[in-house]
């Protein structure tokens, strides 16, 4: 299983680090891509992650109203909505992609997010591109 998480440096990354140190274990299937703000994540980044074989992608940013850059997480949310519709048209389940918001001290929430995405992949199966490429 391969899950890519684009994580905001200020919130989700800190939560992920705390989750590790507080025994809130999360799946090793997750590769975290650190971004200065989720507003930096572009549609092309998400699509490329799927093309490279990701089974699921999530974007985890600050709680709305808490963005260091004021509205980067809101921009990310809009891009996720657009990308979900592109995925649907391209032939991939939109549920493989999700946006989450959390605070840096919510390590339990980070673990939940990862578990949520793991469950989705278990339900949807691996990225069908893996099969095509084989």
């Amino acid at each position: 299983m391969k899950i890519i998480g684009f994580v905001c440096l200020d919130s989700a990354l800190a939560a992920a680090e705390q989750a590790g140190s507080k025994d809130k274990e999360f799946s090793s299937a997750v590769t975290l891509v650190e971004v200065p703000c989720t507003g930096r994540v572009d549609v092309v980044h998400i699509l490329r992650a799927f093309r490279e074989g990701a089974d699921a992608v999530f974007i985890a940013g600050c709680l709305e109203g808490n963005c260091r850059f004021q509205y980067g997480n809101i921009e990310a949310k809009k891009r996720v909505i657009l990308t979900k519709s592109l995925l649907q048209s391209a032939g991939l389940e939109p549920d493989r992609l999700e946006m989450f918001n959390l605070a840096s001290n919510q390590e339990w929430r980070f673990a939940e997010i990862v578990q949520e995405m793991v469950s989705r992949v278990e339900k949807l199966g691996p990225n069908p591109l893996e099969k095509v490429n084989k």
Partner: protein
Amino acid sequence: MIIAEQKPLNDIIQMLEGHQRVLVVGCRSCVAVCLAGGEKEAGILAESLRLHSELKGKGWDIEEITLERACEKEWVREMEGAMEGKNAIISLACGVGAQVIHDIYPGVFVIPGVNTISMGAPEEQGIYMEKCGGCGDCVLHLTGGICPVARCSKSLLNGPCGGSQNGKCEIDPETPCGWDLIYRSLKEQGRLDLMDVVIAPKNWRPSRSGGLRKTVRREAVQTEEEKKIREAGQ
């Protein structure tokens, strides 16, 4: 500027069937400003098509390029190298650009990736409003700088119709009545006297009713002699 809107991905995929080597062409002018077909949108469309092709095993070879201005031949010719081996182009330029691209590469199948909507301007980020009807006989000096052809739903030239209610048009409660805007603008300018000017029945021949419009600026047109001199110099 020209306002356009990208076609749904499904429609583009359908139009593309039967073509393998594809160039997605964006334009850095109007369609980039209205976020329909600039460099960013060209990249997203190309990546979406690659994903679709790989998922469905279609074997499409998708490349992308963005031109400075797709409505001018000189700029379109700059994609000569990228065109090598391509048998289809998805144009994210407006309908004008798509046709100029076709003029330069007549043997290549040109797919319109956007719908060209209007001549307008951004109202705010992500919202674009039609401003000009392109009627070929401008009366903005009489109408407070607001085009009655484009901004009145009926293109009335001498005041609002009975469907104007509380400053809104009858077609939609969100659409401002063009003539209400004109009245307010003239009032602000202290030129309400212009409301009394009767605009004669409009000659629509300079508009689309006269058929294809060709504009000639005589002082700019090259004489045969000039053309020969320029060709010799190249």
